[in-house]
Amino acid sequence: MASAPSASRWALWLPLAFFAGFTALVLFAMLRPADRAVKSAMIGRPLPQFSLLAATPAQPGLARADLATGKPHLLNIFASWCVPCAVEAPQLHALKDRGIEVVGVAIRDKPEDLARFFARNGNPFSRVGRDDVSAIQFALGSSGVPESFVIDGRGVIRYQHIGDIRADQVEMIAQKMAEAAQ
């Protein structure tokens, strides 16, 4: 340091310069408009073949054939033990009130728990199938509850929604349903 004081004076700012470079780089990476939406590999593909038993005595179960009827469906993956699913219930009702047919797949559930769930949160589903081993869930490329799939009239997956449908997303889902109907 003593031998070249003027050069070393500058060198002392080097750590700060490196650090500023690091900060700039990371800031850039964070501010970049990243597309963080998860794109499902299943979009545009037909539903896999499946047939699920009824989850409650009151309603029919769900099979692939029930969804390829010429009319679009909203398939909702849920469970009575899932807290966000209860939060999502009003939005599903709102979609049902718009004339959208909502069908459900109950993941690892019991009929008595489901009955209690419907008693508390209402039942927007026309059909509920039981998936006790998450088989259909995984076949659809879904990894959690709740998730919703827009299925068109031919039984092809048009859109995958991960997580609960929030109140401000009802419009968007209705839009996707309308697109699937065309």
Partner: protein
């Protein structure tokens, strides 16, 4: 009630930190002002309050108080107690609270016990400590309140990420955090010393226990984390150069360099500016580590912790703390007078060489970790992996390890290589002998080099003990020997694993026998079993080593239901000479089961070595603390005698 008390304690602690910052720096300008005597008590009170807050958080988790949002999001009434408690810090808010708790406790200790530093430097240190803490308090109280309430109260919680439901989780993050935060104390010391221009051997001695302590915990945390990834992720590897692993390795590298340079400063009063800069860099690396884990700018196996908004906050804290420290460094380091000189062949030179090599490795790891970001900025997608890291770090690690063997044998200030030549004959023969023997057996260059170097290190690490009587072996010396020996042990483990491991991926029917290395493994049966919050398929394997009696292994494919996720639980059989590692895969169409088997000779040496390195650090720390205590007692005695004489 408890949650409210915790939040109140946290607010009070933050208020005390404001006062501590203010009075600490006021004392620098006007040492005689009435606030100066309260700085130390403030730091101690702050530590007490924040400990209360953290205890409250543990209580609400233990009780599964679902009115607290954090508990509802991360816990579940059906979880085992250990994970309920560990869940308190297995999430963002809780881990930040753990961070400020450890930091405040460290500040309290410094305030209570530190008597070597000049008082102005100590007050500046406590002020700097309060400054860093305040950032985290702001973060907690304004952006991620761990005690936020839910209304209405949910009926059940969301559970904890299954990968984290493992005893390792209970200890791995807190261990690393203690390490990171210990470096924050070293950072505060460095800033305090820069502000008062008191970079002296006394400063180094005051800072050293904190660096040593932090370094021990980082070593343990990395070793434990590596073992966790090894058995929990089920990939059979122990280090993946994953960004988050690198994030814990970088502070360790900086702390290792700092540990050695602080010794030079303490014993020889040299390397002043360099030591101070490393103090700043080491803490910068801990914060960068936290930032990389939390922000999600890099993709990693630790993706469960990601949240971009929190990342921004940590980046802001990082920029303010480290940026400010580097500005102070640039302004002040030029005025810190230069230390003692030394010649090329001396222990100082060995340590300087070690520092330069460690810094180079640090640079390489940092570059490799950030390069995907640089490339992305230029519009390309790349991932940087072992083909870059292994050879690039080896270039610097190999010479460093050789010097690590020789350096401790040299004298301070000035020495001649000729004096220690005879001590090096045996280790050098070991190095060459093993290399030739392995070369003839067709072992590849890198593992060959690793095993040969490891053998040499085991021999040369013990040489400093040669010819000493037991009474003259001080604890710090013994600690150094054990730590350097541990590096040799770990290196042997790494090299043996890469040279001699055998892997087998098969689809086996029940009743079928598969061979891997010296093992014969028979797939006995596959059964479903249930745990507290998961179900699993469990395979029963009977394994026989070279025809000996069989032992059972039970690898599982687990399905958790809160939240829904699949994990593979590997089953591992440990012998003195290695591990048999088994993973159960999926069922194939025709009733066969995928099995992944590895025989890994001497792989356990990796973690044994890591533990030895940490043990060496602990011995050195114990030695330093004991000799400090002895000195304090002696000073007290002298003072007491003077007092008595005065009375007479």
């Amino acid at each position: 009630m408890i949650a409210t008390a915790g939040l109140a304690a946290l607010w009070f602690a933050a208020a005390l930190a404001v006062l501590q910052l203010f009075s600490g720096f006021l004392a620098l300008r006007q040492p005689e002002n009435p606030l100066t005597p309260v700085v130390r008590p403030l730091a101690i009170a702050q530590a007490g309050l924040v400990t209360i807050a953290f205890t409250c958080l543990i209580i609400v988790f233990a009780q599964t108080d679902l009115s607290v949002a954090l508990v509802a999001e991360n816990s579940h009434s059906a979880k085992p107690m250990l994970y309920k408690v560990a869940g308190a810090w297995g999430n963002h808010e809780g881990s930040m609270l753990l961070w400020v708790t450890i930091m405040a406790l460290a500040g309290g200790f410094v305030a209570l016990l530190e008597k070597r530093l000049p008082e102005p430097t100590l007050l500046a240190t406590l002020g700097a400590q309060a400054f860093v803490s305040l950032g985290f308090y702001a973060f907690l109280l304004l952006a991620s309140n761990p005690f936020a309430r839910l209304d209405p109260v949910p009926v059940e919680g969301n559970g904890l990420n299954p990968l984290l439901q493992d005893p390792g989780l209970a200890f791995h993050p807190p261990t690393l955090y203690v390490g990171y935060v210990g470096l924050s104390v070293a950072f505060s010391f460095a800033v305090g010393a820069l502000l008062t221009r008191e970079v002296s051997p006394n400063f180094a001695r005051a800072m050293r226990p904190w660096v040593l302590g932090a370094w021990i915990f980082l070593t343990l945390g990395i070793t434990a984390g590596s073992y966790w990834a090894y058995y929990e992720l089920g990939w059979g590897g122990w280090w993946f150069w994953d960004p988050v692993e690198n994030a814990s390795l970088m502070p360790w590298l900086a702390a290792t360099a700092l540990l050695h340079s602080v010794s030079v400063l303490a014993s020889r009063n040299a390397l002043r500016a360099w030591t101070v800069m490393l103090g700043v860099v080491a803490f910068a690396m801990s914060m960068i580590g936290t930032f990389l884990v939390r922000s999600g700018v890099l993709t990693s196996v630790h993706a469960f912790a990601v949240d971009p908004t929190r990342g921004t906050f940590i980046l802001a804290l990082l920029a303010i703390n480290i940026g400010a420290a580097f500005i102070i460094f640039a302004l002040r380091a030029g005025t810190v007078s230069e230390g003692q000189r030394f010649t090329i062949v001396s222990r100082e030179s060995g340590l300087v060489f070690n520092n330069v090599m460690l810094s180079a490795v640090l640079g390489i790891v940092l570059l490799g970790t950030l390069y995907p970001l640089v490339a992305e900025a230029m519009g390309a997608q790349v991932s940087v992996g072992p083909p870059y890291f292994n050879p690039a770090t080896a270039v610097f690690v190999v010479p460093m390890l050789i010097v690590m063997g020789i350096g401790p044998l040299l004298r301070w200030r000035r020495d001649k290589l000729g004096r220690i030549k005879h001590l090096l004959v045996l280790p050098a023969l070991g190095l060459v002998g093993v290399a030739v023997w392995l070369g003839l057996r067709g072992v590849h260059l890198m593992p060959l080099l690793g095993i040969a170097l490891g053998t040499m290190l085991l021999m040369v690490a013990l040489v400093p003990l040669k010819g000493r009587r037991l009474r003259t072996v001080t604890l710090p010396l013994l600690g150094m020997v054990v730590a350097h020996f541990g590096i040799g042990v770990a290196l042997l483990g790494i090299a043996c694993d890469s040279a001699f491991s055998t892997e087998k991926l098969v689809a086996a029917r029940v009743g079928e026998t598969v061979s891997v290395g010296p093992w014969m493994v028979r797939l006995g049966r596959i059964e479903p079993i249930t745990g507290p919050n998961w179900t699993a398929l469990e395979a029963t394997l009977s394994a026989s080593y070279g025809g000996a009696a069989t032992s059972e292994l039970k690898p599982q494919a687990r399905s958790f239901w809160t939240p829904v996720q699949q994990t593979n639980e590997s089953a591992i059989l440990t012998r003195w000479n290695g591990q048999l590692y088994t993973v159960l895969g999926e069922e194939a169409e025709d009733g066969r089961w995928q099995l992944r088997l590895w025989w890994k000779p001497f792989v356990t040496l990796i973690w044994l070595g890591g533990a030895l390195v940490a043990l060496g650090g602990a011995l050195a720390l114990l030695g330093r603390v004991l000799s400090d205590l002895r000195r304090f007692i002696a000073i007290d005695k002298i003072a007491y005698r003077r007092q008595q004489q005065g009375k007479l």
